[in-house]
Symmetry: C2
Subunit: 388 residues, 2 copies
């Protein structure tokens, strides 16, 4: 199951070995293409019980990956959801078997633009921009194959924030009998025009970087469109933070210098690259960024169900927990309320909480005790109903 990832031009360090499920037959995509073989890289935490009834699937966000509760193999940083996932934490790994898969289209071991493919002339090279257009539903179908592969017929819960929340919703809509409980957090049932536009700016910045080379940067050893990807990350970064959080994050430098120099290097691309230790452009593939942001932008659950969001959930037995954060302007509370209205219209069981926070969209990743208590309570309740 575990095999070495080919040395990546974006990662000058030794190749990272990712735990993977391999499906030689591949899978069909919404766009009509067939991708084969299919690899799904994943991590698990905790132990699957004998009844195979305690599995919680966590879906990651745009630039996340499967390393949610352990040291990241490229950056060396803690897992991105260690605040939430671990023994005694809201997603309690002493009680639940937690699964997290790198999304289809990602760049941490799952099949995506950085993965190798065999060209018509028999040469092996990365998919690059030849990787087909994918959807959130394609990501979910790849995860379903992994879940079946792990011998699990029904998930106790599917949980995710931001793009992870889109996947959680898609799971409940596409595989309703496999999802006992669903927690879409800081998300929406479709991507807004403003969010699409911000993504378009990021993609334009990547396309404008001459090192992108029309998507074929991998053809030259060590070349990545670092500046374009950094600009994309910068603009996204702003949307993840509230005004208060942004002022707090960069406030120290604003206060420390004179009125006429305080801006120098606050957010300038070179200093931003230094500030991020270049880890983002090292760990993340630009073509994956293009592919995954497009998948988010395509996402429109109502459109997949005849234009009516409630139709996506009609007759569902899944229990839902919807959470938003008051200062999140990327996925504002109004989007969660629209989702809750549709779930109510579908006669679904749903609880909703808006968490007061000044941390913006990123709040779902951070220390928010009220959110942690609410999510933990929801999962305990779901587990008790199943006798887990």
């Amino acid at each position: 199951m575990t095999e070495p990832l080919p040395s990546s031009p974006a990662d000058p360090a030794a190749p990272v070995e990712h735990q993977r499920a391999h499906f030689p037959e591949g899978m069909a995509l919404d766009c009509g293409a067939w991708v084969a073989p299919l690899d799904v890289a994943y991590r698990t935490y905790g132990t699957l019980n004998a009844a195979r009834s305690n599995a919680v699937l966590v879906c990651h966000a745009l630039t996340g990956d499967q390393y949610l509760a352990e040291r990241h193999p490229v950056t060396g940083r803690p897992g991105w959801w260690e605040a939430i996932v671990g023994p005694g934490k809201p997603i309690d790994t002493s009680r639940f078997f937690v699964i997290c898969a790198n999304v289809l289209g990602g760049c941490m071991g799952s099949t995506g633009p950085r993965a190798p493919m065999t060209d018509s002339d028999g040469h092996t090279r990365p998919w690059g921009t030849d990787f087909p257009n994918i959807t959130i539903r394609d990501m979910v179908r790849a995860q379903e194959k992994l879940v079946r592969h792990l011998g699990i017929d029904r998930l106790l819960a599917v949980v995710g924030g931001s793009m992870g929340g889109m996947q959680a919703l898609e799971w409940a809509a596409t595989f309703p009998r496999m999802v006992h409980a669903c927690a879409p957090i800081a998300t929406a049932a479709h991507h807004s025009a403003q969010n699409i536009a911000f993504h378009e700016v990021g993609r334009a910045a990547i396309h404008s970087d001459p090192d992108w080379r029309g998507g074929r940067y991998w053809a030259e050893e060590g070349l990545v469109p670092a500046k374009g990807l950094s600009v994309a990350r910068m603009v996204a970064h702003i949307t993840y933070l509230s005004e208060e959080a942004l002022a707090r994050k960069f406030g120290r430098r604003l206060r420390g210098a004179s009125a006429l120099t305080f801006l120098e290097d606050v957010f300038e691309v070179e200093s931003y690259l230094r500030h991020q230790g270049s880890t983002f452009v090292r760990r993340f593939d630009a073509n994956s960024y293009l592919t995954i942001t497009r998948a988010m932008d395509y996402f429109d659950l109502a459109a997949e169900h005849g234009g009516e969001l409630a139709a996506a959930f009609r007759g569902t037995a899944t229990r839902f927990f919807v959470a938003s954060f008051s200062s999140d302007w990327l996925f504002p509370t109004s989007e969660s309320r629209a989702l809750v209205r549709a779930l109510n219209a579908a006669a679904a069981s749903v609880s909703f909480v808006e968490i007061k926070s000044d941390k913006g969209h990123d709040a779902f990743l951070l220390d928010e005790p009220e959110f942690h208590a609410a999510l933990g309570g929801f999962l305990r309740g779901a587990a008790e109903r199943l006798g887990v």
Copy 2:
């Protein structure tokens, strides 16, 4: 006064002649540098009365210029404030003598990065990135020289939206006896951390464009950092619109195509360049964009007055009209309210209106009858008090 602008590498068309005031002695800047000579390009509309008491100065926004009420000499489009300025309009050119100057640091004839300077070795070349750091107060000081040069001791009103509103506020604070009435619109007394961050993204995009050449793109005929400047304009464009306005503007294209292809070319840089007819990168200089956005980011009127915004207006006899737009998230109503509180604390005469609009920040440029009626009424009242 009128002299040809040197052929600009950003403008492949015939050189545009701008009406200009020339000040050989130049002026001192807040940063300590001295810029000489100083040219201030401007346009006037209407007739100065014998008492020289009917002059209204309009200050333009970041990418605006002095062509506010006539066909633009580069783009051929109508003036940017023809909805507001003209005979019988809120700023009534049959009653008022309207002045609009290209800001210091601009690229439409006033001294700025595109203007010629003589190097230490005697060569003449554009200022480029050697142009000093300027402030909103420097822009206002250059305008004050123009106003004096036109034989005007006191302005009936200073009016401006967005960065133009910053200038209007700076006029009232720096030259209080020259300003009878002041209308800062869709603006703030300081630039927020979020707004600074969006500007930083734009600057990073320009810096990342290899055609920027460290700011020396002018050294090669016809070369401009078009892609970087376009990405900067794209991200700014999003901040100028509300979610509703963005969906409306790009909604037609979103609706017209299939779910899997609707994103093609919505906002992608090449299509954006086509969509804008490349006029922005032709008419606007990238180094000016860097210079002016920095001036906006430095702006903090309270900091110029010991940290207390009210101190900027203490003892003022100027009458203020503050207007904001409900869906403007770049300069939200809360910023205008903070300004009004400071003006009240300074015992200034101030009226405030929040206009209900779904057009976002751009509303101040568009057809907003309630706003037009309120601004027109304020100016008529100010004129009547002066017997104009």
